[in-house]
Protein backbone atom coordinates (compact mmCIF):
# COMPACT_ATOMS: atom_id res chain seq x y z
CA UNK A 1 0.00 0.00 0.00
CA UNK A 2 3.03 2.26 0.19
CA UNK A 3 3.06 2.76 -3.58
CA UNK A 4 2.42 6.38 -3.12
CA UNK A 5 2.91 8.67 -0.22
CA UNK A 6 3.98 11.38 -2.67
CA UNK A 7 5.49 14.47 -1.17
CA UNK A 8 2.88 14.73 1.51
CA UNK A 9 4.24 14.46 4.99
CA UNK A 10 2.55 12.32 7.53
CA UNK A 11 2.45 13.66 11.06
CA UNK A 12 2.53 10.12 12.30
CA UNK A 13 0.17 8.80 14.90
CA UNK A 14 1.94 10.15 17.97
CA UNK A 15 -0.25 11.48 20.68
CA UNK A 16 1.85 14.57 21.14
CA UNK A 17 -0.73 16.77 19.46
CA UNK A 18 -3.39 15.65 21.88
CA UNK A 19 -3.46 17.83 24.91
CA UNK A 20 -4.68 16.73 28.28
CA UNK A 21 -8.44 16.83 28.60
CA UNK A 22 -9.12 15.08 25.32
CA UNK A 23 -8.80 18.03 22.95
CA UNK A 24 -6.69 18.29 19.81
CA UNK A 25 -4.04 20.95 19.48
CA UNK A 26 -5.70 23.81 17.63
CA UNK A 27 -2.47 24.78 15.89
CA UNK A 28 -2.92 21.82 13.57
CA UNK A 29 -6.48 22.54 12.54
CA UNK A 30 -7.35 22.27 8.85
CA UNK A 31 -11.01 23.24 9.00
CA UNK A 32 -12.59 25.62 11.42
CA UNK A 33 -16.35 25.97 11.71
CA UNK A 34 -17.62 28.97 13.66
CA UNK A 35 -21.24 29.73 14.55
CA UNK A 36 -22.63 27.75 11.67
CA UNK A 37 -26.40 28.17 11.23
CA UNK A 38 -28.18 26.36 8.43
CA UNK A 39 -31.69 27.07 7.22
CA UNK A 40 -33.80 25.23 4.68
CA UNK A 41 -36.39 27.82 3.73
CA UNK A 42 -37.88 28.89 7.05
CA UNK A 43 -36.69 25.74 8.83
CA UNK A 44 -33.72 26.32 11.10
CA UNK A 45 -32.00 22.95 10.70
CA UNK A 46 -28.66 23.47 12.44
CA UNK A 47 -27.88 26.01 15.14
CA UNK A 48 -24.58 27.47 16.27
CA UNK A 49 -22.10 24.76 15.37
CA UNK A 50 -18.44 25.50 16.06
CA UNK A 51 -15.79 22.87 15.52
CA UNK A 52 -12.12 22.36 14.74
CA UNK A 53 -11.16 19.50 12.44
CA UNK A 54 -7.57 18.37 13.04
CA UNK A 55 -5.33 17.76 10.01
CA UNK A 56 -4.59 14.17 8.95
CA UNK A 57 -6.98 12.76 11.46
CA UNK A 58 -10.30 11.01 11.21
CA UNK A 59 -13.21 12.92 12.68
CA UNK A 60 -16.51 11.08 13.14
CA UNK A 61 -19.91 12.79 13.35
CA UNK A 62 -22.40 10.77 15.38
CA UNK A 63 -25.90 11.45 16.66
CA UNK A 64 -29.53 10.50 16.21
CA UNK A 65 -31.31 10.76 12.84
CA UNK A 66 -32.18 14.25 11.69
CA UNK A 67 -29.74 16.00 14.01
CA UNK A 68 -27.91 17.76 11.18
CA UNK A 69 -24.65 15.83 11.00
CA UNK A 70 -24.90 15.25 7.25
CA UNK A 71 -26.06 18.82 6.76
CA UNK A 72 -22.97 20.16 8.50
CA UNK A 73 -20.78 17.77 6.51
CA UNK A 74 -22.25 19.02 3.23
CA UNK A 75 -21.47 22.62 4.15
CA UNK A 76 -17.78 21.88 4.34
CA UNK A 77 -17.49 21.44 0.56
CA UNK A 78 -20.38 23.77 -0.27
CA UNK A 79 -22.66 20.98 -1.48
CA UNK A 80 -25.57 22.83 0.12
CA UNK A 81 -25.12 25.44 -2.62
CA UNK A 82 -26.95 22.94 -4.84
CA UNK A 83 -30.05 23.05 -2.66
CA UNK A 84 -31.95 26.16 -3.73
CA UNK A 85 -33.68 26.74 -0.39
CA UNK A 86 -30.58 26.22 1.77
CA UNK A 87 -28.87 29.12 3.52
CA UNK A 88 -25.60 28.68 5.40
CA UNK A 89 -24.53 31.44 7.79
CA UNK A 90 -21.33 31.49 9.77
CA UNK A 91 -17.69 30.94 9.05
CA UNK A 92 -15.95 27.95 7.47
CA UNK A 93 -12.20 28.45 7.35
CA UNK A 94 -10.22 25.92 5.37
CA UNK A 95 -6.41 26.19 5.47
CA UNK A 96 -6.74 29.75 6.69
CA UNK A 97 -9.17 30.83 3.96
CA UNK A 98 -12.82 31.65 4.52
CA UNK A 99 -14.73 29.48 2.06
CA UNK A 100 -18.34 30.15 3.06
CA UNK A 101 -18.55 33.26 0.91
CA UNK A 102 -19.81 33.88 -2.63
CA UNK A 103 -16.32 35.13 -3.47
CA UNK A 104 -14.97 31.59 -3.26
CA UNK A 105 -15.96 29.30 -6.12
CA UNK A 106 -17.49 26.05 -4.83
CA UNK A 107 -15.97 24.25 -7.84
CA UNK A 108 -12.49 24.95 -6.48
CA UNK A 109 -13.53 24.04 -2.93
CA UNK A 110 -14.86 20.66 -4.04
CA UNK A 111 -11.65 19.76 -5.81
CA UNK A 112 -9.74 20.28 -2.55
CA UNK A 113 -12.44 18.74 -0.35
CA UNK A 114 -13.74 15.55 -1.93
CA UNK A 115 -16.86 13.67 -1.01
CA UNK A 116 -18.15 10.10 -0.83
CA UNK A 117 -21.89 9.58 -0.53
CA UNK A 118 -24.12 7.23 1.39
CA UNK A 119 -25.32 5.24 -1.59
CA UNK A 120 -22.47 4.14 -3.86
CA UNK A 121 -22.96 6.28 -6.97
CA UNK A 122 -20.32 5.48 -9.58
CA UNK A 123 -20.78 7.16 -12.95
CA UNK A 124 -22.40 4.87 -15.55
CA UNK A 125 -19.02 4.74 -17.28
CA UNK A 126 -16.00 2.44 -17.23
CA UNK A 127 -14.01 1.94 -14.05
CA UNK A 128 -11.13 3.83 -15.64
CA UNK A 129 -13.35 6.74 -16.64
CA UNK A 130 -14.88 6.89 -13.18
CA UNK A 131 -11.49 7.74 -11.71
CA UNK A 132 -10.08 9.71 -14.63
CA UNK A 133 -13.05 12.04 -15.18
CA UNK A 134 -12.56 14.21 -12.11
CA UNK A 135 -8.86 14.58 -12.88
CA UNK A 136 -9.51 15.31 -16.55
CA UNK A 137 -12.08 18.08 -16.02
CA UNK A 138 -9.80 19.72 -13.48
CA UNK A 139 -6.94 19.81 -15.97
CA UNK A 140 -4.67 17.06 -14.64
CA UNK A 141 -1.54 17.13 -16.80
CA UNK A 142 0.36 14.03 -15.67
CA UNK A 143 0.16 10.49 -17.02
CA UNK A 144 -3.49 9.55 -16.66
CA UNK A 145 -2.96 5.77 -16.67
CA UNK A 146 -0.50 6.05 -13.82
CA UNK A 147 -2.80 8.41 -11.96
CA UNK A 148 -5.78 6.07 -12.26
CA UNK A 149 -3.69 3.13 -11.06
CA UNK A 150 -2.37 5.14 -8.11
CA UNK A 151 -5.86 6.19 -7.02
CA UNK A 152 -7.23 2.67 -7.37
CA UNK A 153 -4.31 1.31 -5.35
CA UNK A 154 -4.86 3.90 -2.65
CA UNK A 155 -8.50 2.88 -2.52
CA UNK A 156 -7.42 -0.78 -2.17
CA UNK A 157 -9.31 -1.70 -5.32
CA UNK A 158 -6.55 -2.08 -7.91
CA UNK A 159 -5.98 -5.82 -7.57
CA UNK A 160 -9.68 -6.53 -7.99
CA UNK A 161 -10.22 -4.39 -11.09
CA UNK A 162 -6.87 -4.12 -12.89
CA UNK A 163 -7.98 -6.59 -15.58
CA UNK A 164 -11.34 -4.96 -16.23
CA UNK A 165 -10.71 -1.22 -16.25
CA UNK A 166 -12.82 -0.86 -19.39
CA UNK A 167 -15.85 -2.50 -17.81
CA UNK A 168 -18.66 -0.50 -16.29
CA UNK A 169 -18.30 0.72 -12.73
CA UNK A 170 -21.93 -0.24 -12.24
CA UNK A 171 -21.04 -3.93 -12.62
CA UNK A 172 -19.00 -4.00 -9.39
CA UNK A 173 -20.36 -5.14 -6.04
CA UNK A 174 -21.66 -2.53 -3.59
CA UNK A 175 -18.48 -2.53 -1.51
CA UNK A 176 -16.28 -2.30 -4.61
CA UNK A 177 -18.45 0.51 -5.97
CA UNK A 178 -17.96 2.45 -2.76
CA UNK A 179 -14.18 1.98 -2.93
CA UNK A 180 -14.36 3.11 -6.57
CA UNK A 181 -16.14 6.24 -5.33
CA UNK A 182 -13.31 6.76 -2.85
CA UNK A 183 -10.77 6.34 -5.67
CA UNK A 184 -12.76 8.86 -7.68
CA UNK A 185 -12.62 11.32 -4.79
CA UNK A 186 -8.84 10.78 -4.46
CA UNK A 187 -8.31 11.51 -8.16
CA UNK A 188 -8.53 15.28 -7.74
CA UNK A 189 -5.79 15.10 -5.08
CA UNK A 190 -7.87 16.63 -2.28
CA UNK A 191 -6.66 17.42 1.24
CA UNK A 192 -9.91 16.45 2.87
CA UNK A 193 -12.36 13.66 2.18
CA UNK A 194 -15.89 13.87 3.50
CA UNK A 195 -17.80 10.60 3.82
CA UNK A 196 -21.53 10.61 4.43
CA UNK A 197 -22.39 7.23 6.00
CA UNK A 198 -20.23 5.45 3.42
CA UNK A 199 -20.85 1.97 4.80
CA UNK A 200 -24.53 2.11 5.66
CA UNK A 201 -25.53 0.28 2.47
CA UNK A 202 -22.76 -2.33 2.73
CA UNK A 203 -22.38 -5.76 4.29
CA UNK A 204 -20.07 -6.21 7.33
CA UNK A 205 -17.08 -7.49 5.33
CA UNK A 206 -17.22 -4.57 2.89
CA UNK A 207 -17.70 -2.21 5.81
CA UNK A 208 -14.56 -3.55 7.46
CA UNK A 209 -12.60 -3.04 4.24
CA UNK A 210 -13.74 0.58 4.05
CA UNK A 211 -12.74 1.14 7.68
CA UNK A 212 -9.28 -0.36 7.13
CA UNK A 213 -8.94 1.79 4.05
CA UNK A 214 -9.78 4.95 5.98
CA UNK A 215 -7.06 4.14 8.50
CA UNK A 216 -4.56 3.85 5.65
CA UNK A 217 -5.70 7.08 4.00
CA UNK A 218 -5.38 8.99 7.24
CA UNK A 219 -1.63 9.38 6.75
CA UNK A 220 -2.21 11.58 3.71
CA UNK A 221 -5.71 12.94 4.07
CA UNK A 222 -7.96 14.57 6.60
CA UNK A 223 -11.14 12.54 6.87
CA UNK A 224 -14.55 13.51 8.18
CA UNK A 225 -17.09 10.71 8.36
CA UNK A 226 -20.75 10.72 9.30
CA UNK A 227 -21.86 7.42 10.75
CA UNK A 228 -24.93 5.97 12.38
CA UNK A 229 -22.85 3.17 13.75
CA UNK A 230 -21.23 4.04 17.05
CA UNK A 231 -18.91 1.05 16.99
CA UNK A 232 -17.68 2.29 13.65
CA UNK A 233 -16.98 5.71 15.08
CA UNK A 234 -15.16 4.14 18.01
CA UNK A 235 -13.12 1.83 15.78
CA UNK A 236 -12.12 4.25 13.09
CA UNK A 237 -11.96 7.81 14.37
CA UNK A 238 -9.54 9.95 16.36
CA UNK A 239 -12.00 12.71 17.12
CA UNK A 240 -15.72 12.16 17.72
CA UNK A 241 -18.34 14.88 17.46
CA UNK A 242 -21.76 14.25 18.97
CA UNK A 243 -24.77 16.10 17.55
CA UNK A 244 -28.28 16.09 18.90
CA UNK A 245 -31.54 18.00 18.69
CA UNK A 246 -32.34 20.79 21.09
CA UNK A 247 -35.83 21.49 22.42
CA UNK A 248 -36.64 23.55 19.29
CA UNK A 249 -35.81 20.57 17.03
CA UNK A 250 -32.63 22.24 15.79
CA UNK A 251 -29.46 20.25 15.24
CA UNK A 252 -26.78 21.27 17.72
CA UNK A 253 -23.25 20.16 18.45
CA UNK A 254 -23.33 18.74 21.97
CA UNK A 255 -19.74 17.74 22.50
CA UNK A 256 -16.55 17.02 20.63
CA UNK A 257 -13.27 15.52 21.74
CA UNK A 258 -10.92 12.63 21.26
CA UNK A 259 -12.77 9.43 20.52
CA UNK A 260 -11.31 7.85 23.65
CA UNK A 261 -12.71 10.61 25.80
CA UNK A 262 -16.16 10.77 24.19
CA UNK A 263 -16.63 7.04 24.52
CA UNK A 264 -15.22 6.61 28.03
CA UNK A 265 -15.67 9.87 29.84
CA UNK A 266 -17.98 12.32 28.08
CA UNK A 267 -18.66 15.67 29.74
CA UNK A 268 -22.29 15.91 28.72
CA UNK A 269 -25.05 13.70 30.08
CA UNK A 270 -26.74 13.58 26.63
CA UNK A 271 -23.58 12.16 25.07
CA UNK A 272 -23.35 9.52 27.73
CA UNK A 273 -27.03 8.58 27.29
CA UNK A 274 -26.56 8.25 23.55
CA UNK A 275 -23.38 6.18 23.52
CA UNK A 276 -24.62 3.87 26.23
CA UNK A 277 -27.78 3.27 24.19
CA UNK A 278 -30.25 4.89 26.56
CA UNK A 279 -31.38 7.33 23.90
CA UNK A 280 -31.42 7.57 20.11
Amino acid sequence: MSTDTQERTSPGRSNSVIKDGGEFDTSDTIIQLRDLNIHYGSFHAVADVSLDVPRNRITAFIGPSGCGKSTVLRCINRMNDLVPSARVDGSIVYSGVEINTPKVDPVEVRRRIGMVFQKPNPFPKSIYENVAWGAKINGYRGDMDEHVERCLRQAALWDEVKDKLKESGMALSGGQQQRLCIARALATEPDVILLDEPASALDPISTLKIEELLRELEANYTIVIVTHNMQQAARVSDQTVFYSLNERRQGVLVESGTTAKIFTNPDDQRTEDYITGRFG
Binding site: F117, N121, F123, P124
Partner: protein, 303 residues
Protein backbone atom coordinates in the same frame (compact mmCIF):
# COMPACT_ATOMS: atom_id res chain seq x y z
CA UNK B 1 -59.50 -19.07 27.51
CA UNK B 2 -60.62 -21.96 25.44
CA UNK B 3 -58.57 -22.89 22.38
CA UNK B 4 -61.57 -23.90 20.30
CA UNK B 5 -61.80 -22.35 16.85
CA UNK B 6 -64.71 -22.28 14.50
CA UNK B 7 -64.25 -24.89 11.77
CA UNK B 8 -64.65 -22.26 9.06
CA UNK B 9 -62.58 -19.51 10.56
CA UNK B 10 -58.90 -19.11 11.27
CA UNK B 11 -59.63 -16.96 14.27
CA UNK B 12 -60.93 -17.75 17.73
CA UNK B 13 -64.61 -16.87 18.20
CA UNK B 14 -63.78 -14.05 20.62
CA UNK B 15 -61.72 -12.28 17.99
CA UNK B 16 -64.17 -13.01 15.19
CA UNK B 17 -67.01 -11.25 16.96
CA UNK B 18 -65.26 -7.88 16.60
CA UNK B 19 -64.89 -8.16 12.81
CA UNK B 20 -67.24 -8.34 9.85
CA UNK B 21 -64.89 -9.15 6.92
CA UNK B 22 -67.52 -9.58 4.15
CA UNK B 23 -64.96 -11.43 2.08
CA UNK B 24 -67.54 -12.68 -0.44
CA UNK B 25 -68.91 -9.19 -1.05
CA UNK B 26 -65.46 -7.65 -1.49
CA UNK B 27 -64.46 -10.38 -3.89
CA UNK B 28 -67.66 -9.87 -5.91
CA UNK B 29 -66.92 -6.16 -6.33
CA UNK B 30 -63.37 -6.93 -7.35
CA UNK B 31 -64.38 -9.55 -9.93
CA UNK B 32 -67.13 -7.40 -11.35
CA UNK B 33 -64.83 -4.41 -11.78
CA UNK B 34 -62.14 -6.49 -13.42
CA UNK B 35 -64.73 -7.42 -16.08
CA UNK B 36 -65.59 -3.75 -16.63
CA UNK B 37 -61.94 -2.87 -17.12
CA UNK B 38 -61.46 -5.79 -19.48
CA UNK B 39 -64.42 -4.60 -21.54
CA UNK B 40 -62.96 -1.11 -21.74
CA UNK B 41 -59.72 -2.57 -23.07
CA UNK B 42 -61.55 -4.74 -25.59
CA UNK B 43 -63.59 -1.84 -26.97
CA UNK B 44 -60.48 0.30 -27.39
CA UNK B 45 -58.66 -2.46 -29.26
CA UNK B 46 -61.79 -3.36 -31.23
CA UNK B 47 -62.13 0.18 -32.55
CA UNK B 48 -58.53 0.13 -33.67
CA UNK B 49 -58.97 -3.25 -35.36
CA UNK B 50 -62.13 -2.01 -37.06
CA UNK B 51 -60.31 1.06 -38.34
CA UNK B 52 -57.45 -1.02 -39.68
CA UNK B 53 -59.91 -3.50 -41.17
CA UNK B 54 -61.76 -0.83 -43.14
CA UNK B 55 -58.48 0.68 -44.29
CA UNK B 56 -57.08 -2.59 -45.50
CA UNK B 57 -60.40 -3.66 -47.07
CA UNK B 58 -60.59 -0.47 -49.11
CA UNK B 59 -56.94 0.13 -49.71
CA UNK B 60 -55.48 -3.33 -50.18
CA UNK B 61 -56.09 -3.57 -53.94
CA UNK B 62 -54.63 -0.13 -54.45
CA UNK B 63 -51.51 -0.79 -52.47
CA UNK B 64 -48.78 -0.95 -55.09
CA UNK B 65 -45.31 0.32 -55.76
CA UNK B 66 -46.91 2.98 -57.93
CA UNK B 67 -47.79 4.80 -54.71
CA UNK B 68 -44.14 5.15 -53.87
CA UNK B 69 -42.76 5.73 -57.36
CA UNK B 70 -45.40 7.70 -59.25
CA UNK B 71 -46.67 11.23 -58.96
CA UNK B 72 -50.11 12.77 -58.79
CA UNK B 73 -52.22 11.99 -61.81
CA UNK B 74 -55.73 12.66 -63.00
CA UNK B 75 -56.55 8.95 -63.03
CA UNK B 76 -56.52 7.02 -59.81
CA UNK B 77 -55.04 4.08 -61.67
CA UNK B 78 -51.25 4.39 -61.63
CA UNK B 79 -51.36 7.50 -59.47
CA UNK B 80 -48.79 7.84 -56.68
CA UNK B 81 -47.61 10.35 -54.14
CA UNK B 82 -43.84 10.19 -54.16
CA UNK B 83 -43.61 13.98 -53.91
CA UNK B 84 -45.76 13.87 -50.77
CA UNK B 85 -43.66 11.14 -49.15
CA UNK B 86 -40.44 13.04 -49.82
CA UNK B 87 -42.13 16.28 -48.74
CA UNK B 88 -43.09 14.70 -45.43
CA UNK B 89 -39.54 13.44 -44.91
CA UNK B 90 -38.11 16.91 -45.57
CA UNK B 91 -40.67 18.51 -43.27
CA UNK B 92 -40.07 16.06 -40.47
CA UNK B 93 -36.30 16.35 -40.75
CA UNK B 94 -36.45 20.15 -40.58
CA UNK B 95 -39.02 20.21 -37.79
CA UNK B 96 -37.15 17.51 -35.87
CA UNK B 97 -33.79 19.30 -35.99
CA UNK B 98 -35.30 22.66 -35.08
CA UNK B 99 -37.37 21.35 -32.18
CA UNK B 100 -34.56 19.13 -30.89
CA UNK B 101 -31.98 21.92 -30.73
CA UNK B 102 -34.27 24.57 -29.24
CA UNK B 103 -36.27 22.12 -27.14
CA UNK B 104 -33.33 20.40 -25.47
CA UNK B 105 -31.67 23.77 -24.87
CA UNK B 106 -34.81 25.08 -23.21
CA UNK B 107 -35.19 21.94 -21.12
CA UNK B 108 -31.58 22.16 -19.92
CA UNK B 109 -32.06 25.81 -19.00
CA UNK B 110 -35.30 25.22 -17.12
CA UNK B 111 -34.10 22.13 -15.26
CA UNK B 112 -30.45 22.85 -14.57
CA UNK B 113 -29.88 26.59 -14.68
CA UNK B 114 -33.07 28.58 -14.07
CA UNK B 115 -33.61 29.56 -10.45
CA UNK B 116 -36.90 28.29 -9.01
CA UNK B 117 -39.26 31.21 -8.81
CA UNK B 118 -42.33 32.94 -10.21
CA UNK B 119 -40.71 33.64 -13.59
CA UNK B 120 -39.72 30.01 -14.10
CA UNK B 121 -43.19 28.87 -13.05
CA UNK B 122 -44.70 31.32 -15.52
CA UNK B 123 -42.53 29.95 -18.35
CA UNK B 124 -43.34 26.39 -17.38
CA UNK B 125 -47.08 27.00 -17.33
CA UNK B 126 -46.97 28.64 -20.72
CA UNK B 127 -45.01 25.81 -22.28
CA UNK B 128 -47.60 23.36 -20.98
CA UNK B 129 -50.38 25.53 -22.37
CA UNK B 130 -48.68 25.80 -25.76
CA UNK B 131 -48.67 22.03 -26.11
CA UNK B 132 -52.47 22.16 -25.94
CA UNK B 133 -52.99 24.86 -28.58
CA UNK B 134 -54.82 23.51 -31.69
CA UNK B 135 -52.44 22.89 -34.56
CA UNK B 136 -54.31 25.16 -36.97
CA UNK B 137 -53.38 28.09 -34.72
CA UNK B 138 -49.72 27.23 -35.30
CA UNK B 139 -50.55 27.28 -39.00
CA UNK B 140 -51.83 30.83 -38.68
CA UNK B 141 -48.74 31.82 -36.70
CA UNK B 142 -46.52 30.25 -39.37
CA UNK B 143 -48.41 32.07 -42.10
CA UNK B 144 -48.06 35.45 -40.39
CA UNK B 145 -44.50 35.02 -39.11
CA UNK B 146 -42.61 32.90 -41.64
CA UNK B 147 -44.53 33.23 -44.90
CA UNK B 148 -45.41 36.90 -44.69
CA UNK B 149 -43.40 38.79 -42.08
CA UNK B 150 -40.10 37.00 -42.75
CA UNK B 151 -41.13 36.71 -46.39
CA UNK B 152 -39.96 33.15 -46.82
CA UNK B 153 -42.93 32.38 -49.03
CA UNK B 154 -45.07 29.28 -49.36
CA UNK B 155 -42.10 26.94 -49.47
CA UNK B 156 -41.04 23.82 -47.61
CA UNK B 157 -38.95 25.77 -45.08
CA UNK B 158 -42.02 27.66 -43.86
CA UNK B 159 -43.83 24.37 -43.36
CA UNK B 160 -40.87 22.83 -41.54
CA UNK B 161 -40.49 25.83 -39.23
CA UNK B 162 -44.20 25.79 -38.45
CA UNK B 163 -44.12 22.08 -37.70
CA UNK B 164 -41.04 22.63 -35.56
CA UNK B 165 -42.90 25.23 -33.48
CA UNK B 166 -45.89 22.94 -33.23
CA UNK B 167 -43.95 20.09 -31.64
CA UNK B 168 -41.52 22.28 -29.69
CA UNK B 169 -43.56 22.26 -26.44
CA UNK B 170 -43.84 18.47 -26.59
CA UNK B 171 -40.10 18.09 -27.08
CA UNK B 172 -39.39 20.53 -24.22
CA UNK B 173 -41.70 18.72 -21.81
CA UNK B 174 -40.39 15.25 -22.75
CA UNK B 175 -36.78 16.44 -22.40
CA UNK B 176 -37.48 18.06 -19.04
CA UNK B 177 -39.04 14.84 -17.84
CA UNK B 178 -36.01 12.85 -19.00
CA UNK B 179 -33.57 15.31 -17.40
CA UNK B 180 -35.52 15.32 -14.15
CA UNK B 181 -35.35 11.53 -14.01
CA UNK B 182 -31.54 11.56 -13.91
CA UNK B 183 -30.82 10.56 -10.31
CA UNK B 184 -29.61 13.26 -7.94
CA UNK B 185 -26.77 10.97 -6.85
CA UNK B 186 -25.22 11.15 -10.30
CA UNK B 187 -25.25 14.96 -10.26
CA UNK B 188 -23.87 15.10 -6.72
CA UNK B 189 -21.08 12.70 -7.63
CA UNK B 190 -20.07 14.91 -10.53
CA UNK B 191 -20.29 18.17 -8.56
CA UNK B 192 -18.39 16.43 -5.77
CA UNK B 193 -15.22 16.10 -7.86
CA UNK B 194 -15.29 19.79 -8.73
CA UNK B 195 -17.25 19.85 -11.97
CA UNK B 196 -18.91 23.00 -13.24
CA UNK B 197 -22.60 23.03 -14.05
CA UNK B 198 -21.96 22.63 -17.78
CA UNK B 199 -19.54 19.75 -17.23
CA UNK B 200 -22.15 17.96 -15.15
CA UNK B 201 -24.80 18.54 -17.81
CA UNK B 202 -22.58 17.70 -20.78
CA UNK B 203 -20.95 14.55 -19.41
CA UNK B 204 -23.58 13.06 -17.13
CA UNK B 205 -27.06 14.54 -17.28
CA UNK B 206 -27.42 14.66 -21.07
CA UNK B 207 -26.05 11.17 -21.80
CA UNK B 208 -28.27 9.71 -19.08
CA UNK B 209 -31.33 11.62 -20.31
CA UNK B 210 -30.69 11.05 -24.03
CA UNK B 211 -32.82 7.92 -24.50
CA UNK B 212 -35.80 9.74 -23.01
CA UNK B 213 -35.11 12.90 -25.00
CA UNK B 214 -34.80 11.01 -28.28
CA UNK B 215 -37.93 8.99 -27.60
CA UNK B 216 -39.87 12.17 -26.86
CA UNK B 217 -38.56 13.88 -29.97
CA UNK B 218 -39.38 10.97 -32.25
CA UNK B 219 -42.88 10.64 -30.83
CA UNK B 220 -43.38 14.38 -31.29
CA UNK B 221 -42.10 14.18 -34.86
CA UNK B 222 -44.42 11.30 -35.62
CA UNK B 223 -47.25 13.53 -34.47
CA UNK B 224 -46.06 16.16 -36.93
CA UNK B 225 -46.06 13.68 -39.78
CA UNK B 226 -49.81 13.22 -39.43
CA UNK B 227 -50.68 16.93 -39.20
CA UNK B 228 -52.62 18.44 -42.09
CA UNK B 229 -54.26 21.68 -40.98
CA UNK B 230 -51.19 23.86 -40.31
CA UNK B 231 -49.62 22.78 -43.61
CA UNK B 232 -52.68 23.78 -45.60
CA UNK B 233 -52.63 27.17 -43.87
CA UNK B 234 -48.95 27.83 -44.59
CA UNK B 235 -49.39 26.79 -48.19
CA UNK B 236 -48.57 23.18 -48.91
CA UNK B 237 -49.88 22.47 -52.42
CA UNK B 238 -52.39 19.71 -52.86
CA UNK B 239 -51.54 19.13 -56.50
CA UNK B 240 -47.90 18.85 -57.34
CA UNK B 241 -46.01 16.85 -59.90
CA UNK B 242 -42.38 17.25 -58.82
CA UNK B 243 -40.38 16.04 -55.85
CA UNK B 244 -39.18 18.79 -53.49
CA UNK B 245 -35.68 19.96 -54.41
CA UNK B 246 -34.79 21.60 -51.11
CA UNK B 247 -36.08 23.82 -48.36
CA UNK B 248 -37.12 26.52 -50.83
CA UNK B 249 -39.17 24.46 -53.23
CA UNK B 250 -42.91 23.89 -53.53
CA UNK B 251 -44.03 20.91 -51.55
CA UNK B 252 -46.84 18.76 -50.35
CA UNK B 253 -47.07 16.19 -47.58
CA UNK B 254 -48.69 12.80 -47.16
CA UNK B 255 -51.70 13.85 -45.07
CA UNK B 256 -52.38 16.80 -47.38
CA UNK B 257 -52.40 14.50 -50.39
CA UNK B 258 -54.61 12.00 -48.59
CA UNK B 259 -57.03 14.76 -47.65
CA UNK B 260 -57.15 15.94 -51.25
CA UNK B 261 -57.86 12.43 -52.52
CA UNK B 262 -60.67 11.78 -50.05
CA UNK B 263 -62.29 15.05 -51.14
CA UNK B 264 -62.53 13.84 -54.76
CA UNK B 265 -65.95 12.59 -55.90
CA UNK B 266 -64.65 9.38 -57.53
CA UNK B 267 -64.76 6.29 -55.29
CA UNK B 268 -61.43 4.94 -56.54
CA UNK B 269 -59.62 8.01 -55.21
CA UNK B 270 -61.06 7.26 -51.77
CA UNK B 271 -59.67 3.74 -52.03
CA UNK B 272 -56.35 5.16 -53.16
CA UNK B 273 -56.43 7.39 -50.07
CA UNK B 274 -56.94 4.31 -47.89
CA UNK B 275 -53.84 2.75 -49.46
CA UNK B 276 -51.92 5.98 -48.85
CA UNK B 277 -53.01 5.96 -45.21
CA UNK B 278 -51.56 2.46 -44.90
CA UNK B 279 -48.24 3.81 -46.18
CA UNK B 280 -48.44 6.71 -43.72
CA UNK B 281 -49.12 4.30 -40.88
CA UNK B 282 -46.19 2.10 -41.82
CA UNK B 283 -43.95 5.17 -41.68
CA UNK B 284 -45.41 6.13 -38.29
CA UNK B 285 -45.03 2.66 -36.85
CA UNK B 286 -41.43 2.39 -37.98
CA UNK B 287 -40.65 5.74 -36.35
CA UNK B 288 -42.18 4.51 -33.10
CA UNK B 289 -40.18 1.34 -33.52
CA UNK B 290 -36.99 3.39 -33.78
CA UNK B 291 -37.98 5.24 -30.60
CA UNK B 292 -38.40 1.98 -28.72
CA UNK B 293 -35.13 0.62 -30.08
CA UNK B 294 -33.24 3.76 -29.02
CA UNK B 295 -34.71 3.63 -25.54
CA UNK B 296 -33.65 0.02 -25.09
CA UNK B 297 -30.29 0.37 -26.73
CA UNK B 298 -29.08 3.57 -25.09
CA UNK B 299 -30.68 2.73 -21.78
CA UNK B 300 -28.66 -0.42 -21.21
CA UNK B 301 -25.79 0.70 -19.04
CA UNK B 302 -27.32 2.88 -16.38
CA UNK B 303 -27.32 3.51 -12.66
Amino acid sequence: MSATTDAQSLEPAAVRRRWRPRIDGRKRTSNWLSRVFFLATVSAVALLVLLLGVLFYRGWDWLSLDLLTQQYSRNAEGSGFQAAILGSIWLVAGAGILSFVIGVGTAIFLEEYAPRGPLTNFLQTNISNLSGVPSVVYGLLGLALFVEFMNIGRVLLAGALTMGLLILPIVIIASQEAIRNVPLGLRQAAYGVGATRWQVVRHHVLPAAMPGILTGTILAVSRAIGETAPLIVVGASAIIFRNPSGFFSDYTAMPVQIYQWTARPQEEFKDLAAAAIIVLMIVLLSMNGIAIYLRQRLGKDRW
